[in-house]
């Protein structure tokens, strides 16, 4: 039992190898029989190389199940032994899934963590201000602009490329660094920063309006809690009220949102990275899906799952620290 994807893969292998052999001038003098034999041998080798000669999953016996590819994927995933990719290589030529991910990770982190931090703190800051000025012209404007975030970052990316790269020629079309890359490290870093400007801007425009709107609404809800009204009635100054009565009790939510945003940023952004030709995990994901490179897909998913698990675990501890209502240990609720 190989599964539908296996059949697709086998058909693709046959098609690709047939075309390759047929078009190769080295085989031009071969007879049709010899070409066919050669193609069949190469197809068989490729099927074996990809493990497609082994069943994807078997339930007929325990032995069969434990020797199926699906079981091996599961064990590898659980033990974080990410194995080797089927087709994709790291830029430096490695097939180790871990090395491939490791090579791409810093670039996704660099771009999207920066972008997410910018969006997060900017929207938080603006939202706090707006929540204090509910109903003002700025507040209304922020509500009116919120729908702009329905367009994804890559959409703004294309427009920004058009304006700043194609027309004004102020910023690069994409890529990681200038061509040729500067030899000096500082210049190299500056060049990378220059290449980050447009994707950052695209991400920022796409995220900021909805961010501001959501946090503003969130703070407004908290601002109308009874204990806040009480404190306000008692004459607690505005800054103190904001810090102690609004921000502090909402801190767990803010931290959760921040942590999850960071993890999401580590996975990159599939289309944005492709638009900007950015060598991150998003474009890796896209390549892996289009080539059915299971080990890479499993690897990326597993890392995300582990990151999520660890984050939730850490958050539990952080909640106990930042929120006095949460107790560690066997305390009972009052």
């Amino acid at each position: 039992m190989g599964g539908y994807v296996d059949n697709i893969k086998k058909a693709q292998i046959t098609e690709q190898i047939s075309v390759q052999v047929y078009q190769n001038p080295a085989y031009q003098s071969y007879t049709t029989e010899e070409l066919r034999k050669l193609i069949e041998q190469k197809v068989a080798l490729e099927i074996k190389r990809l493990g497609l000669d082994k069943p994807f999953i078997r339930f007929d016996s325990l032995y069969g199940f434990f020797h199926s590819r699906a079981f091996m994927y599961l064990i590898n995933a659980l033990t974080l032994s990410l194995g080797r990719s089927e087709h994709i290589y790291s830029s430096s030529g490695s097939k180790q899934v871990w090395l491939i991910i490791k090579e791409r990770l810093p670039y996704s982190v660099l771009l999207f963590t920066t972008a997410s931090l910018l969006v997060f703190f900017a929207s938080l800051y603006v939202a706090l201000i707006l929540s204090r000025r509910y109903g003002s012209i700025w507040d209304r404007l922020s509500v009116a602009l919120a729908p702009l975030s329905t367009a994804p970052s890559w959409f703004y990316g294309i427009i920004l490329i058009l304006i700043f790269a194609a027309i004004l020629r102020l910023l690069p079309f994409g890529g990681l660094v200038d061509i040729p890359p500067p030899e000096n490290r500082i210049m190299y870093a500056l060049s990378v920063l220059k290449h980050m400007v447009l994707p950052l801007l695209g991400w920022f425009i796409s995220g900021i309006f909805v961010g501001v709107y959501s946090w503003r609404t969130f703070f407004l809800i908290y601002s109308s809690e009874d204990y806040v009204e009480m404190a306000r009635a008692k004459g607690v100054p505005g800054r103190l009220l904001e810090r102690r009565y609004i921000l502090r009790p909402t801190l767990p939510t803010i931290i959760t949102s921040f942590a999850l945003m960071l993890i999401a940023a580590w996975m990159g952004a599939i289309i944005t990275e492709s638009v900007f030709n950015w060598p991150g995990l998003g474009s890796l994901y896209m390549a892996a899906i289009s080539q059915f490179d299971t080990p890479i897909i499993v690897g990326l998913t597993v890392i995300y799952a582990y990151l999520l698990g660890v984050t939730v675990f850490i958050l539990d501890i952080v909640y106990a620290i930042v929120d006095p209502r949460i107790k560690v240990g066997g305390g009972t609720a009052a």
Binding site: Q23, S29, R49, Y89, S94
Partner: protein
């Protein structure tokens, strides 16, 4: 006076300097990845790139190029599209023509498939769907390759016969449908009470989506119900390749094929595309051809003929049979363009385009306003995804994006002409080709001397195989004590310059570099070898079927004898196959660079091929980046320490400079940070695999003058003009119709013209007469129609077509005019 003298000296020095330019014209080439075609062109317009080395086939992008005052384009013709039919049940004795599920398959009937040729308007496809970025294709041979020129008359005759004729198509299809038992009710076909449905697999990645919709529309107009199933390659491959055609998974598929080099012998196409022998997959097993047709196809595929004239007859027959069979209906040869900045020029291969050109590195240059080459400068080349796979010369990356820069770093001893595919010598003085009498081989160029002999005996001391355990060549005497004959013997006289040429790390080329290539070809495919690679075995086994031996006759000057049973139509190709060098299948490499890879693979720490790397669970060897660089460095240190000479039983005699070579490689690695050592006009200066860019720099020690290959800068496609042709042709009167044949306004040299022929067609498109035009002088050739011939012409419109076949470019030219015969 002294000033004049100084000026004179300076002028002489400048003259010498200009004359002395060797190797590449430009100083530096920077490649970078830009997978997005539209963005690549925007970057070219913005001045960030000078050449986009990947084909542009998108009409909107093409318009942008045309609109830009700074860019121009060149075309290539390597890819072609067709309709693949499911012919089950193709056997004429099997009826009804139904799939196992009871669905009718009209395309099981050859006449219906043949009629599809008339139904489809290829001119519409080319002009409206491809927007001019293609040329029509009717036949299984490529209209821009040499076989087409050889068969020009038959090809044009068949193209006229199968020209767009929807009425005829309808007539044939309707008649055949009725024979099948289908009924036309209210303009819709029904079979056994059910609408006749055509399952049409339509690829969506390119123009085939529009082609599919267009053909589906035509079929719907004829009364068929079309089930359009769209998808990319992987979505559809299982259905059309892997599913038993009897299951009725599909009726038609929009097929596409690509070739990146000019094929000079397309005789095997018939066997491959039309018979069961083509591929061992279910679809091909459903093919059926009549026994006498099968015989013709097989003879062409197996070169089973004695003369080129006999081959010509077989090819003409095969073309007719193929059109009648039409299990494939050919549609268009794509003509994608490669955009360049004005002022930049290079030889672009007619099949492979910019990325497939073997001469790109020798001819890439900036030019002045008159078109003369300018020395120096930098060229920035945008290309698709680079570094998808590791680079190693033996079995590394085969991506076209990687192969372009790789070729720039190497120097094959023979190179293919980008316009005819004929092999031309780079480091071969001459080659004597001896062919067994009765085999169909011809020659065109002077560097090859072709002779026919009764018998070719392979000498007993020639090497014919490899003993991987003993690490020794096996001689013919040892393997074939009874003696061995071959169909072909080639004596290759290498250019003495070869053994003076320098590798990029400063090492001098030697016989050991060539021998290493031979040995590795054997050793990797032998199970007893320490570097046995399962994936190398099929290629070795197939090659050994033909290989009959080789022998070093003289070491300096280097002369070798090569024996084979492999036959090619051109003696030049046979000689090129015999002239081995140090350019492996995936790049150039000196023996000492290969040696450290051998050590790494034998130690199971890295592998040359992807298959073996997967099998061992180690990294695929990269000579330019990544974790294997450290492994290679480790084995370079070991090689230095032990003065390691691989295969010392054989190479020991020739690899006398091992210590010096390893030191050169070490120094190279310390300077450049990689082990990629070639001998081409460019060396690899730097690589940034993450930023996906690399820089090549001009190799100053390259020996040949820079203008060596400049003659191949542009394909000389003949232009035809009728001069003073009559509008009315009186029957019974002799007529002389002058035709000017030129290239860029200058007369086309008659010695470069293979033939100028005329074809006369009647109003029905039937060929009435064929003849040769006569050279008159200057650009003019005369088509002479005798009074006897014009007397025979039927009244009505007559078309006269003039066809020109050139010796220097594979693309023939043709142009036609019409006359009224009262």
């Amino acid at each position: 006076m002294w000033r004049k003298g100084l000026i004179l000296v300076a002028a002489v020095l400048l003259g010498i300097s200009a004359f002395a330019r060797t190797g590449a014209w430009v100083d530096e080439v920077i490649f970078f990845s830009e997978p997005d075609m539209a963005k690549a062109i925007e970057r070219m317009i913005a001045g960030e790139a000078d050449l986009y080395a990947y084909s542009v086939d998108d009409i909107d992008v093409y318009k942008k190029i045309i609109e830009s005052p700074d860019l121009y384009t060149v075309s290539a013709y390597g890819a072609y599209t067709e309709l693949t039919f499911n012919p089950y049940p193709a056997d004429p004795n099997v009826t009804p023509k139904e799939f196992k599920n009871g669905m009718l398959n009209p395309f099981a009937v050859p006449r219906i498939r043949e009629a599809m040729n008339w139904l489809i308007d290829r001119d519409y496809i080319v002009k409206e769907l491809y927007k001019g970025l293609a040329i029509p294709r009717y036949l299984p041979i490529t209209p821009t390759f040499p076989d087409y020129a050889r068969l020009l008359v038959k090809a044009r005759e068949l193209e006229a016969k199968y020209a767009h004729n929807p009425e005829k198509a309808k007539e044939v299809i309707f008649a055949e449908m009725e024979k099948l038992g289908a009924e036309l009710v209210d303009g819709k076909w029904y079979y056994k009470g059910q609408p006749v449905t055509i399952i049409f697999l339509i690829r969506v990645e390119d123009v085939r989506k529009e082609i599919g919709d267009y053909v589906a529309g035509l079929l719907e107009e004829l009364g068929f119900q079309v089930d359009r199933r769209y998808g990319v390659s992987r979505d559809l491959a299982k259905c059309w390749i892997f599913t038993d055609p009897a299951e009725g998974c599909f009726h038609i598929y929009t097929g596409g094929w690509i070739t990146t080099s000019i094929s000079r012998d397309q005789g095997g196409n018939f066997d491959f595309f039309y018979t069961k022998r083509g591929l061992g997959v279910p679809l091909w097993q459903a093919y059926y051809v009549e026994p006498e047709v099968d015989k013709v196809f097989k003879k062409l595929a197996y070169n089973d003929y004695s003369t080129l004239e006999e081959r010509q007859e077989l090819m003409e027959k095969a073309l007719e049979y193929a059109m009648k069979n039409s299990v494939r209906v050919w549609l268009a040869n794509e003509a994608p363009v490669f955009p360049m900045r004005k002022g930049l020029a290079m030889a672009v291969d007619l099949a492979g385009g910019a990325y497939g050109s073997w001469l790109w590195s020798y001819t890439l240059r900036w030019t002045d306003e008159e078109g003369n080459p300018v020395e120096g400068g930098t060229v920035r080349i945008a290309i698709g995804e680079m570094f998808n796979e590791p680079w190693n010369a033996v079995a590394g990356s085969n991506w076209i994006y990687d192969m372009m820069p790789i070729r720039g770093t190497g120097m094959p001893v023979v190179l293919p002409d980008p316009f005819t595919g004929l092999a031309r010598p780079q480091r071969v003085e001459k080659a004597e080709v001896y062919v067994q009498e009765g085999l169909p081989v011809g020659k065109t160029l002077d560097w090859v001397d072709l002779q026919f002999v009764d018998e070719i005996q392979v000498p007993a001391d020639a090497w014919v195989d490899w003993d991987a355990e003993a690490q020794q060549f096996i001689t013919v005497g040892e393997k074939y004590p009874e003696g061995l004959t071959a169909k072909v013997k080639v004596v290759v006289h290498y250019d003495p310059q070869l053994l003076k040429d320098k590798w990029h790390d400063g090492s001098t080329f030697s016989v050991a570099d060539i021998l290493m290539h031979y040995i590795l070809t054997f050793d990797r495919g032998k199970e007893a070898s320490a570097i046995f690679d399962e994936s190398a075995k099929p290629d070795l086994d197939a090659w050994l079927e033909y290989f009959r031996g080789f022998k070093i006759v003289s070491e300096d000057p280097l002369v070798i004898e090569y024996y084979t049973d492999s036959i090619e139509l051109d003696a030049e190709t046979i000689a090129a196959n015999a002239a081995w060098d140090a350019f492996y299948s995936q790049g150039p490499a000196p023996w000492h660079a290969i040696a450290i890879g051998i050590l790494a693979e034998a130690a199971k720490e890295a592998a040359f091929s992807s298959d073996k790397a997967d099998k061992l669970g180690v990294e695929w060897m990269s000579y330019i980046a990544g974790p294997t660089l450290d492994i290679l460095k480790k084995y370079l240190d070991k090689a230095i320490e032990e003065n390691y000479i691989p295969y010392s039983n054989v190479l020991g005699k020739y690899a006398t400079d091992a210590a010096e070579r390893y030191q050169n490689l070490l120094k190279w690695y310390e300077e450049k940070g990689h082990f990629w050592v070639g001998n081409g006009v460019f060396y690899l200066e730097s690589v940034d695999t993450v930023a996906r860019t690399l820089t090549l720099k001009r190799f100053e020690n390259y020996a040949d003058p820079a203008d060596k290959w400049l003659g191949f800068a542009e394909p000389k496609i003949a232009e035809i003009d009728f001069v003073g042709a009559p509008e009315i042709l009186e029957p019974g009167t002799g007529v002389v119709i002058p035709v000017n044949i030129t290239f860029k306004g200058e007369p086309y040299p008659p010695e470069e013209i293979d033939f100028v022929k005329y074809l006369l067609f009647d109003a029905e498109g039937n060929l009435v007469d064929v003849g040769k035009a006569e050279y008159f002088g200057g650009p003019t050739w005369n088509v002479i129609l005798s009074p006897e011939l014009t007397a025979k012409l039927p009244s009505g419109t007559v078309k006269l077509e003039v066809a020109v076949s050139s010796k220097v470019v594979a693309i023939p030219s043709y142009k036609s005019i019409t006359f009224i015969v009262p």
